[in-house]
Amino acid sequence: MEKEFDATKIERYIKGELDEVEKQAFELLIEQDEELAEEVDFYRTSMDAVDVQGAILEAERRLADRGFFAEKKARKGKLITFRALTSAAAVALLLLIGWWYGETHYSDAVLAVVDPGVLAGELETARRLADSGQTTDIFSDGLQALQQEDYHEANQFFAQVDKAAPTYVQALLFLTYSNLRSKNYEAALENSQRIEDLSQDIATVQKAQWLRAKASIGQGVPEKELLAEIADDDNHRFQRDARLILRQLDSYWRKLIP
């Protein structure tokens, strides 16, 4: 049977609450009784462990009162929100870059733009004729507006020339070009078709086809068959351009543009 010890006395001894006489008498007992010594040791370490645990729990209580552990949750929530926002911002930025790239490289407006070099030969001839006074004032005014890239103004002058001389292909070519640059695609389509019908000159017909193809893109209904026809024609001066345009029309980036 296990010995029963006086727990209160052990506690008081450990706490230092015994007077000197009691203390000495108790220490004598401890020296003589191994089991009592062991019990005192057990109480001492246990009380000490409870003291350490108590300090930790007190700190935890204070922290909990200040919302420390709840704050962890909130902070984690904020972190998740921050991460989600960062990811969303990154995706949005990528989409924006994609949209911008598509818009500035593959949009109808960009693909419909015509290189002024298309008219280089005609412009030179027209300028020479105008300088020598062999053209009307209106035609000269139209040329001047074209050189100044005032396409609306150019439209009006060349339209007047076209009204006066409907078979004058050169004026019609300038008019179509001005139509395109001023984004009057419907008129550009109609006038380019007229050039193809009127002209016997292959080079002029090819230019008209190219202007028509561009006008169709500007209108939002690309004439892919015409572009394919140009792209397949080894003798067409716009073959390479047509191939490039066809690739751009089927580009992934273009799909990003609403």
Binding site: F42, D48, V50, D51, Q53, G54, E60, F68
Partner: protein, 182 residues
């Protein structure tokens, strides 16, 4: 939060004296790092709290030895300690079935285990056994041995008689002893 050597020394001195404010400071500085270890290895918040409690308890007991010193800093020490405690806890729960490459730190843990004194092991067992006691026992022991309240005060707080408090505490200590020798 990074702490320099002198502030770490001051902190450890205050921990040695079981200053609850110092313990609070340690929580503020290092709990997150410990929680990351536990949460990142399948544990939950309660696990993290328990593991951190045990790590601080163990540190305070180690500080009883005047020769004990931390090579790095308190934060890093506690993080490692949390890892070791968590691995042990998982082992005990037989959850740790596969030793993977992620447990390379076990080597450090083993070496730490070897350095544990008999006294430290005794306190560790005590810590575990104290947690097995009923809530009433834990409260009576806390009020008596940590808060140093008289039996009369405890009796008022717990709606007992002082005599009952004295007997109850004795029975609680007997239970604790049983757990220790089990």
């Amino acid at each position: 939060m990074r702490s320099d050597k002198s502030s770490d020394d001051q902190l450890m001195e205050r921990l040695r004296h079981r200053d609850p404010h110092a313990i609070e400071q340690v929580y503020l500085q290092s709990f997150d790092r410990c929680a990351k270890v536990v949460l990142g290895d399948g544990g939950n918040k309660e696990d993290a709290k328990e593991v951190f409690q045990e790590a601080i308890f163990s540190l305070i007991i180690k500080l009883k030895n005047p020769e004990f010193a931390i090579k790095s800093n308190v934060g890093a020490y506690l993080r490692q300690s949390c890892f070791n405690i968590w691995v042990h806890a998982k082992r005990r729960a037989r959850k740790l079935q596969v030793i993977d490459a992620g447990l390379i730190q076990m080597t450090e843990e083993t070496s730490m285990d070897e350095e544990k004194s008999a006294l430290e092991e005794k306190y560790e067992r005590l810590y575990a056994c104290l947690r097995k006691l009923t809530d009433a026992c834990q409260r009576i022991l806390d009020l008596s041995y940590y808060q140093k309240k008289k039996d009369k005060e405890i009796a008022l707080l717990m709606d007992y008689t002082p005599e009952f408090v004295k007997n109850k505490r004795r029975r609680c200590m007997q239970s604790l002893r049983k757990y220790m020798t089990a």
